[in-house]
């Protein structure tokens, strides 16, 4: 589901935030101002973030598109089949 509440958890972080964090970490490491311990900590986080990003970009599993229909006030989802022009 798209709009679930954000948790402070790498799995729950949205792609945009993960990518932003990753960019910040790469910049910090490039500047080389951090201590070795900090660098290694950041590195571990960066690798995890890149994994999260790549997972979210994984398109191997094809999604089934849906169509929303209302029947007697209830909304139901059905697989979307594109119809040709009438």
């Amino acid at each position: 589901m798209a709009r679930t509440k954000k948790k402070d958890n790498l799995e729950e972080i949205c792609f945009e935030q993960a990518l932003e964090k990753l960019e910040v970490i790469v910049k910090q490491l490039e500047r080389g101002e951090l201590s070795l311990d900090e660098s290694l900590g950041n590195f571990a986080e960066g690798v995890n973030l890149s994994k999260v990003c790549l997972n979210k970009l994984d398109y191997a599993q094809k999604q089934i598109d849906k169509i929303l229909l209302e029947e007697q006030g209830k909304i139901i989802e059905k697989p979307l089949v594109v119809q040709e022009d009438e």
């Binding site: 490491l29 979307l80 594109v82 119809q83 009438e86």
Partner: protein, 415 residues
Amino acid sequence: MNIFSVSEITKYIKELFECDSQVANLLVRGEISNFKRHFSGHCYFTLKDSNATIKAVMFKSRAQDLKFEPKGGMKVIAGGQITVFERDGQYQLYVQQLVPDGIGELSLAFTQLKEKLEAEGLFADECKKKLPMLPDTVGIVTSATGAVLRDIITVSKRRHPGVTLMLYPVLVQGSEAPMQIAHAIEVFNKLGNVDVIIVGRGGGSIEDLWSFNDERVVRAIAASVIPIVSAVGHQTDYTLTDFVADRRAATPSQAAEFVVPDVRELIKYVTTLKNTLLNNVHNLLENKRLRVEQSAMSRVLQYPHEFLRARQQMLDSCMERLDKATKQIVMVKQHQFEITAEKLAMLSPLAVLARGYSIVRDAKGQLVNDVSTTHPGQQLEIILNQGVIDVEVINVQEGYYGKNQEKRQSRGDLF
């Protein structure tokens, strides 16, 4: 019968006009004649048809926004209020909106609604929401049939095969359409099951696109917490939906491009970032390792004995110098002592006695160093080398130094 002044009766007539809601806000169709744009920017003209004319004025504040240049003979629809200009005793139309008649009432209604909603701030840039960078699910509000949906699906899947599309099918023209479109947007917001919504339809006449100028649709879009991209008609068509949407796409395909990122590009980018990260840390570690190695290779750590030996040598040399210096000091001091001892020996009164001098003291032990203080018969004590003799003075001769001394003096005189 009451007698009115001209001013009074004119004022009365003006009030009659102003009480009437029919003339307070109306649309008039007619042909422009005698169009004059005064240098002040205000426009004065007459509207006429085959049987009648009416004076009209359009003030600069309104006239400057006209998208076309009014001319005599042009058929127009003018919107505004009719009231009396007291000085000339003339009723006239104060024009707020003016559109060419060919485009019709729809266009005027469009202009009026646009102004109203704009004044409410519905189109303000501050209201525009940012589109998500990578949506999981994209809501689509359009017809279930037709090229629009197909284009959106094709482009979306080409860019990101993993994205989920969710269609809420609606009529996109006709009287039912506005309500359905607004309702679809509300349903997506209620369910919160999409990250972004595309609202659109294909090209058509202005009447075909009219649902997307409907106030209900515009307000539903403004109220949406989910970002909305509009794609209505062709590139040249602008509907109020386009103004209120968070982003306007010229075509449905472009809407899909705005909404769905090219996932291969993103993968490339993230992979580059990851590699940069790996390289950086690798370089960092390599760098630190080299520094550790360099330290480990240093002579001090490699040959610690050498280091000690050198120190030992320095210590030895210091000890030697210390020893030498000490001896030197002792020698110098000893020498000084000998000289001093010798000097001391020379100065000893005993030594003086040994050279033949003697010391004379009286009975009280007082030193006698002047003959004048002595007198014959006085008891004195003479201290000589090796001892003391007690004597008595026989004679005192002042200024006389004895026989030997006399001889020496006479010899001295010779020189």
